[in-house]
Amino acid sequence: MGGDEEVKLYGMWASPAVRRVEWALKMKGVEYQYIEEDLAKKSHQLLEHNPINKQVPVLLHNGLPVLESLVIIEYIDETWKGNPILPIDPYQRASARFWATFAETKLLDGTKAIFLAQGEEKVKAIKKVEDTLKVLEEELRGKKFFGGESIGYLDIVLGWIALWLGVGEEVADYRVLDAIKFPKITSWIENFLHVDLIKENIPDRQHTLEFFHNFRRFGFAIPNK
């Protein structure tokens, strides 16, 4: 798909939600223009295209905005044929969507809760995240990737675990990614980071660490939200 298509992605370099959209675009070989947003001073284009929650990522395809990373990924999958991201079979699609929402609500939100918690609340929040990882560990049984032999929808949705979970652990001073407790997730992370399109499209760990240290220090506030 060549010159007639205008594809723009509004994002922020440290955001895992943005990165997963980029991975989806790369999987399909879609050319796009990336626009870096300063979340402290959002562009009027971003606010115009996403007045509802004013967040990145926003995909603009021929002028039409698509919002919410998981929605965007399905849009990319349905718009550009070839190299399917989601499975074809309806039952497997339902299963992939189920695990994606499970991971978003239990794992992603769970780690955010750890960031914000102290003392006993923090211990409880960590236990919840561990329980969630146990479930995902089981999902990986007999598979190299969640998508099988190669990466698929669930791998790119969960891809934030490969970098941002470790960063979160360091910033908020806790540990869940234990190689002994979670051997499959541990090797999945290694395999995932070795995939070319991921390797070439993932932020630098040190910069990401600094970003989230600051983010936490300033009370998770990015002003002008």
Binding site: Y75, E78, T79, P90, Y91, R93, R97, T101, V135
Partner: protein, 246 residues
């Protein structure tokens, strides 16, 4: 697929259970409705949804599908006939976005009203609910283009996602005295609500408002003895939270 075995585990009062029921009705799919007994969870439910242990669960040929909007999409993809999601990717993305918004932002704002710790917080939650309805009014105006439903001439994904909450919304209006679907604020939604509720595929699945009010009052009576110390009043939304955790 003549020998398809389709079962739905649910409960009459749950808005989430309504969603796959409407979807199956729209597709003309016959199914067995397995009503969960109030206050307990069946073996079948626990086995079919070990992660959340919640209704609804669709069982198709014995295979479980969980999470209401995921079930609706599955029904749309597994059976031909009436299209629930639009055919083009952009409008599908718009539909999915609003389904997500209704479940992740709007509905929590609604149930958050009862949990608001201060009057200030309560006022803010109520404002959020109205703001959400205003967004949805605009969506209906834009995508409906004079048509009765979000899906156009027929019921679609957003109709199901929002419409499933109408029963409890009306029950709340009765119990709280506050009108959420206000003709002066969101006239298109008021009209839409009536048409949606009267639709063939919806009528039989929509719980009666009075029965929901009765149910909420029963729960309040049943639980207030236990939790008066924690929460001075179980409001309607606490009942709703309870039901949605079934």
């Amino acid at each position: 697929m003549a020998s398809d075995d389709v079962k739905l585990i649910g409960a009459w009062a749950s808005p989430y259970v309504m969603r796959p029921r409407i979807a199956l009705n729209l597709k003309g799919v016959e199914y067995e409705f397995l009503e969960e007994k109030f206050g307990s969870k069946s073996e079948l439910l626990l086995k079919s949804n070990p992660v959340y242990k919640k209704i609804p669960v669709l069982l198709h040929g014995g295979k479980p599908i969980c999470e209401s909007l995921i079930i609706v999409q599955y029904i749309d993809e597994a059976w031909s006939g009436h299209s629930i999601l639009p055919s083009d990717p952009y409008h599908r993305a718009v539909a999915r976005f609003w389904g997500h918004y209704i479940d992740d932002k709007w509905f929590p704002a609604l149930t958050g009203i009862s949990r608001a710790p201060t009057d200030e917080a309560k006022k803010e939650a109520i404002e959020q609910v109205f703001a959400g309805l205003k967004f949805l009014e605009e969506v209906l105006e834009k995508s409906g283009a004079g048509k009765p439903f979000f899906g156009g001439d027929t019921i679609g994904y957003i109709d199901i996602a929002l419409g499933s909450h109408l029963g409890w919304l009306r029950a709340t209006e009765k119990l709280s005295g506050l009108t959420y679907l206000d003709e002066s604020k969101t006239p298109l939604l008021v009209c839409w609500a009536e048409k949606f509720s009267a639709h063939e595929a919806v009528k039989c699945a929509m719980p009666e408002t009075d029965k929901l009010v009765e149910f909420a009052q029963m729960l309040k009576a049943k639980f207030s003895a236990y939790i008066d110390a924690l929460s001075p009043s179980i409001t309607l939304f606490s009942s709703l939270n309870y039901i949605c955790s079934l």
